[in-house]
Every structure is written in C-alpha cells, then in structure tokens.
Symmetry: C2
Subunit: 320 residues, 2 copies
C-alpha cells in the first residue's frame, strides 16, 4: 500500500466523519483551507507520542488512536477552546491494514464525539510515533492562560487523579490481565479531555492547565511566579485507586503521576466554590490556595512539607 491508498482507505473516511463549514478544503491538496469566523480566535496545539517513551510497546491501536487525539484536545480544553480541526502525522514501521483500521476507529470515536475534523497530515514509514496538531475556536480575547493567579485564589482540580499513573506502573510490571486494574487502564488508554469545563472556565477568567506531567509539575506551570499551599488530604482519588494502593499510596500517585488529563485551575477567592458547567457530573475539588512568592507547601496530617521551587518536574523522583 502506498501513501495514497492509505489516505483513501483510512484518512479520507476519518476526515469525512465530521464536517465543519469553516473547513473549505479538507484532505486532498497540498494543504487544507480553513476560514476562521470573524470575532473568533484560533487555538492550536501539537503533541507527539513515541512508542516506548509515551506509550508502551504493543499498545492496542484503538486506544492509541483515541489517546493521540485526546491529549491534544486536553490542551484545547485547558485554553477554553471548542475543537475545530486537526492534522495527523502517523509514522509506522509497516502499513498493517488491521492496525491502521483499529487506530483510525479509535481516533474517529473521539473525533465524532468532540466534533473535530481531520483535514490533512502525513503517513510515513519509521519507528512508531504519532503527532497531532489540533485547532479550536473561542471568542476573540477569551483564551484561558497560565499565570493570572492572585494570592488567596483557590486551586482546583477536576475529577480524580493518579489512576493513569497506576496503570502505567502496572503495564511496566505485568503482562497478564487483572480485572482490578481495568478501570485504571481504561483511564490511561482513553483519557477524557475536559472540554466543557475548559469552555466554562473562560467566563470565570481564571488560569488553567491540563495535568499531563503530574499535579505538582503542572501546578508550577500554572502559577508561574506564585506559590501554593496544598491540602494533602483534599487530593481527589478514586475508591478504585484507594483499594489498590491504600489512601496514602493513592495520594502519592495523585500528587506526582501524570497522564490523567484532568484540568487544574485557579478560582478567584471570596465567592462560592466553582460548580462547573450546568448539568455536568464532573466533580471539582478545591485542593489549596495561591500564596505570595514562589514554592509549594504541602499540608498533611503529620505537619507540612516545603517543596523546592525547582523541584516540580522531578518531584515524582523524590517521592518514589
């Protein structure tokens, strides 16, 4: 199969599964053509997943297709954007039609649900790696940025944390199926981008990031030059994770593991705690407060720990 057969068989049907009036030309030319509506800004993000680095070898291709799009949608969510279109580069050692069919199916399931149209890309031979560049729209000037946090603002996170990290640990150590980790594996393989929450956060004017590197690492990215006081016992963990790891083990994973793709955001102090978009069942938890100056203090049951300002990206290593 040459690249053009692959386009006809897999990528054109994926591109045809969603159609936006803003997309003037999709797949089939040297480039796609998009007409951004007046009064809208366009948000763009790009993430690469490399086999053996970002996902384990022999990851089911259906999950990989979903996940490669989901991690980019999660960035759009953190900016408050509504998905519009994406381009996709797939590099794979051989053109296996069953692999590609499952990959395209997994990606299509999420693309259709979140209404994002594939408009172009590249398919090449090489070590397995997926790059997605995704684009979204939002009212001009309303993008949710990092920074912007004021002392006294609350620090909040959506959903629960740590399960994707648990799944990765398990995948590193085991080959045999275990129903006890099914929920965690599902969360790792099929992350749920928090798009409705991100769009709702636009109106609150707060700052947000998605939790991809780990809560404490991403907190550093969110606050820029502010600090935080975090309540260890408030970290939201699922019952399933607690039953696997115990409460303290679950919280350690929640603090340091990445890949959950929840949104971490700042909510102005004073008024009521954030309720989230109307009708949403996604829990939002206040886990701490923004402080003057840099550095993070973690308040636990046995006292408080002062974390190094520079320690964010390596925090996982200190704990384990």
């Amino acid at each position: 199969m040459d690249e053009f057969s692959l386009i006809d068989r897999f990528w054109k049907p994926l591109g045809d599964a969603v159609t936006h009036s803003e997309v003037i030309e999709g797949i089939g030319n040297d480039g796609a053509v998009v007409r951004c509506p007046p009064g809208q800004d366009q948000v763009m993000t790009m993430d690469t997943l490399v086999e053996g680095v970002h996902f384990p070898r022999h990851m089911p291709p259906h999950a990989l297709g979903w996940r490669a799009l989901a991690v980019n949608l999660s960035d759009l969510a953190a900016m408050g954007a509504q998905p519009l279109c994406f381009t996709l580069s797939v590099t794979l050692p051989e053109a296996s039609t069953s692999w590609l069919a499952a990959f395209a199916d997994g990606m299509k399931a999420l693309a259709v649900r979140e209404n994002i149209q594939l408009v172009g890309g590249d398919t090449t031979r090489g070590p397995l790696s997926i790059t997605v560049q995704a684009q979204g729209l939002l009212p001009a000037g309303s993008a949710v940025r990092r920074g912007n946090a004021q002392p006294g603002d609350r620090i909040c996170v959506s959903g629960s944390l740590g399960e994707a990290g648990e799944a990765l640990n398990w995948l590193d150590e085991s080959d045999t199926p275990d129903p006890a980790v099914d929920t965690a594996l599902q969360r790792y393989r099929y992350p749920e981008p928090r798009l409705a929450l991100g769009q709702w956060l636009r109106e609150a004017g707060s700052a947000a990031v998605d939790v991809s590197d780990g809560l404490l690492a991403d907190l550093g990215h969110l606050l820029v030059d502010r600090g935080a006081r975090l309540d260890w016992q408030a970290l939201p963990v699922s019952d399933g994770l607690v039953s696997l790891r115990g409460l303290e083990g679950a919280r350690r994973l929640a603090a340091s593991a990445g890949d959950d793709y929840e949104l971490l955001f700042v909510w102005p102090g004073g008024g009521p705690a954030p309720s989230g978009p109307k009708g949403s069942a996604l829990p939002l938890t206040v886990i701490g407060t923004v402080t003057e100056g840099a550095g993070v203090t973690l308040n636990g049951p046995e006292g408080s720990i002062q974390l190094e300002e520079q320690g964010y990206t390596h925090f996982g290593g200190h704990h384990d």
Copy 2:
C-alpha cells in the same frame, strides 16, 4: 536538560525571531492563539521527516532545520499562501545542545527570510524525526487547488529538476566530499520554497503542486482525471547536472526524482506563456500540454512512450 530548558534555550528565541500581529499568544501556554484577519483563508500543511527514511543518517542539523521547514513552506507555496506561523515537533535520541543549536539556526534562517513565526510544539525523546505543521494566509476563496486543468492548457515547471535526486544518489554511495556535487547537495539540503511564484499563480487561477515525489508522480496528483503530453526535451535540467550525468541521464532524473520542491502548474492555453512574478529571475518552462482522458505520453527524440495511468508513484522504479 528537561523540555522546559529546551524551550527557553532554543524554541523561544526561534519563536521571537519573527512576530506577526495575528499571533496573540505564542510559545508558553497549552496552546498558541492566532487571530486570522477577516477576508482571509488559512492554509495548513503538515510534513514529517524521519531519519533513514526521508533524510540520511548524520545529515547536518543546520540543513535539517532548514529542510523540515522548507518542505512545508513548499506546500504553502503550491496553495498560493503567504506564510504565517508553524508548530514544530522534534523527536531526538538525546538532547545534544550543539545539535539543537545548529538545527534551530538552520530553521531560523529560513523562518526569518520567509517571515513565519514558531508558535508552539513538542520536544520528545525517541528516534530522530521532525514534524512541522505550517500555516499561511491568502484572500478568501483564492487557494490554488489541484485538478481544474482543461485540455489544451500548458503544463509548466519552475527552475530545474533532478539535482536533489542526484545528491541523494551520491549520499547513498559515498562518504567523501566531492566539489562536483556541491551544488546538487546544496539543493537537496536547502530547498527553496517557491512562495512568490505560488502567490502569483493565485491570480492566474491555475492548478499547482510542488514536486516532492518526482515530476511524473506529482503530475498525476496535479491533473487528477486528465492526461498529459510531455516534451522530453523540454524538461529543464541544470548545466551542472548535465555535466555529472549527461543530458539523457539528467532528464531521467528530472522526470522521476523528487525532493526538488519546484512548482508544477497548469497554465491556460491560448495566451502568452507564463512570465512569473515581477522581477523574479526564476525560469518557468512549458513542458507539455493537458489532454482529455487519463495517461501520460512522453514525446522523446526516438518516438513517444505511453506511461501507465497507475504507474506514477512507482515510476522511478521502472526507469532505474
């Protein structure tokens, strides 16, 4: 070096080298924010280059930086767009600062010259591979598409063909420098996207593609369901390539080798031959005529050859 140090040291300076007022937020958030001017369409394209597949091992990083951006700019050129911004994913086995500095320098040289701003991307560990997603602007509805060719229209190509293919052949066979192939190597390493020509072609309303897969393969993509009669002796080849390969060898390379990134386009029959943008020294050569139906006839000194309709993407193989 973690990813954030790499961003600060290499990607932010590259992003700061060009600033467009349309870019509201560049590098530094979960996504970039771009405001497309009213009345403009946005063209987007994505190309991946994998080591050992699209470029030889140990390709000088300065050239790789230039080339990875150039092949995407060439697609923007083929659509008639003016460069605006790009996102960049770099996957590399280890974060060598000297390699990255040279790569970023090569990319910056072209980005500054063609006025395109880096707005985001991803840096990951893995087998060497570069993906660029580039975006350009053009007046709404004016994109140059494939297809559109009418019988009797002339088929034209810019510049000269075959030198990049000669360089690749040489790189496959030799490790020792040879001044005779310097010009060809330069063309392979530092392709020149034909942006001014592409923008000029918008007004002529013709169809265009860039020559990346090889003249005959790309002719198939350009004409879609039309055919062509090509004049073998008209294929433009440089004096340097003729001195290396002889006239017939040069023409064979011109017909089948890719990587030259000239523009191949259709020009309405009847009027004068295309002159190109005002003040441009880039030669434009009429190499044939669009015919009814499919298939390509190659008229040479010893008669004509009928090429298979399906043979485009494998044509190089038939000749060698």
